[in-house]
């Protein structure tokens, strides 16, 4: 057990190091968030945002950030030709846990920064519980990270990767779409954490089951 934990942490460390080595990834992520926010601001203008439109805008932003940023986890290994090294050095579970943790971190970081800027830049857009917003963002980030990690692993060997990421991820993400938009809409309409609670707990359960199932299935992809 401790060996798996150590190996997973090593995978996270390796990801962080290769990310920080050229700063390219983090910089482009920052620019992506700012650009996305500016596009939203310019297209919204002075229009008053209703709760459901706020929820939809937030959700589309999360989805775009996830598909563009997280879908490349395993493709990058395949393209650099480092996937064999990874395979020989560590066990499948460690790779999955490491990649998942790294993706969750990345997704949490970008989504929380985005949400903070979104709420500050468009005044009065979020009247509900702030804790609810943070909690919903955290659960959604984890769910997206889990879905895109396993889809990215599936697609590492496929021919047309870019198009297929969104297609394959959509059925797994759809439950999060329906629940997430509902929760964000409730919150944007000025409701507190208790009103957001039931859907939030269903979404958290779904995410946990998704992580567990992906963990079990990943071994089947990893073993050749």
């Amino acid at each position: 057990m401790t060996r798996v934990v150590r190996q997973s942490l090593a995978v996270v460390q390796k990801e962080l190091r290769s990310e920080l080595r050229n700063r390219f990834g983090l910089n482009s992520m920052g620019m992506f968030i700012v650009t996305l926010l500016l596009v939203l601001l310019f297209s919204v203008g002075r229009t008053h945002l209703t709760p459901s439109i706020t929820a939809a805008l937030l959700f589309i932003s999360f989805y775009v950030m996830a598909v563009s940023g997280l879908g490349r986890t395993f493709l990058a290994e395949q393209e650099r030709g480092t996937i064999l090294l990874l395979r020989s050095a560590t066990s499948g579970s460690a790779v999955f846990i490491g990649k998942l943790l790294y993706n969750i971190g990345l997704s949490l970081l970008s989504n929380l920064i985005f949400v903070a800027l979104f709420v500050v830049v468009i005044p009065g857009v979020w009247t509900g519980s702030v804790a609810g917003l943070i909690l919903a963002t955290v659960v959604l980030s984890v769910g997206f990270a889990a879905a895109l990690t396993i889809v990215s692993a599936l697609l590492a060997r496929a021919a047309e990767k870019g198009m297929l990421t969104a297609v394959l991820a959509l059925p797994i993400i759809l439950p999060l779409v329906f629940l997430g938009v509902e929760i964000l809409g409730t919150g944007a309409g000025g409701k507190g954490l208790t009103e957001m609670g039931p859907e939030l707990s269903i979404m958290a359960t779904y995410t946990i089951v998704l992580v567990a199932l992906s963990f079990v299935l990943f071994d089947l992809i990893w073993k050749d």
Binding site: A158, L168, L170, P171, I172, L174, L213, L220, I221
Partner: protein, 351 residues
Amino acid sequence: MTAALLSFAVIIGVFLGLLFGGLDRPKPVWWKVMTSILLVGLVIFGFGIPMGGSFTAAEMIRDAEGGDVAVPVWVSKGDGTYLDRSGQTRTIDFSRLDAGERESAMGAESLIVTVTPEGDHWSAESLEWVDPPMTFPLIPALRERARNIFFHVPAAWIATMAWFVAAFYALRYTRRKDIDDDVRASSAAAVGFLFCATATISGSIWSRFDWGSFWNWDPRQVSIVVVLMIFGAYFALRSALETREVRARISSVYILLMALPVLFFIGVFPRLMKTLHPNNLTLNTEMSLLFPVAALALTLLYFWLTNLTVRIRLFSVRREEKRYASIMDRDGSSVQPVKVAMPSENERHEG
């Protein structure tokens, strides 16, 4: 009750479909004859059994569509008046019928006539059936469209069941690594896609005429489209993977991963949203007998089609293996082909 009968019929269908000949041997003759009889019977009875409403139904339709609409009602003879299935009596004026029809109407125990209201009584427009052996009730909102229930509902059930069949063989592939299991899984999904498309299209046409538009955001509409999307994504993934073994392995994992959305959209989602679908159908005896027959017949049709697809695909897999083996022989290579199993002489002739 209806759902229980329907699921019972589907389970029987799964057993009958999988037990005899499985997915990759020819089905026995009696099996094919039985399935054909059930399917022909479904079409004949499903479309052929006449519909006759009650006077209440006729009044509802008259109120909705205007006074001169002729509605078929089923009546049995009381003394001087006519009794409908809800126990109401009305006088029917047969003077518009010609003499021969009037005579047979008078002699009958029960009949289906189309009627229009005329003051305080009903006037018979045409005689549809004399002593009909079987009748369907006329549901005012659905009328003849109610017959779609025998095709639409089983198709939706079978589409979901097809995912379970595909997932079963995908799981077996991940255990045994037998390429035949991947052929079975992908064929089960392909035929399931057909049934799923049937359910979606027949449902949205039905929805257009009864709920007002092709798409109503009904949770069951959403879930059937999700199942359709899952099958679509599965085939897109398969076509993007190059070698046979990688394709089998990766797509098996994908179909197993889809357990999550499938179970969510069947189990959780319909309870979160309001549905337009009726939860308790009230069917008369004829309808509730034909309904499970329809489910059984269409489930057997599903397994028949899957069986044919599997056998066609396995045939080309075997041919490829044979060609590979002969190349290896010619080159005198020491590498032995792993498995060369041709269908037996006997099977090839029957197939």
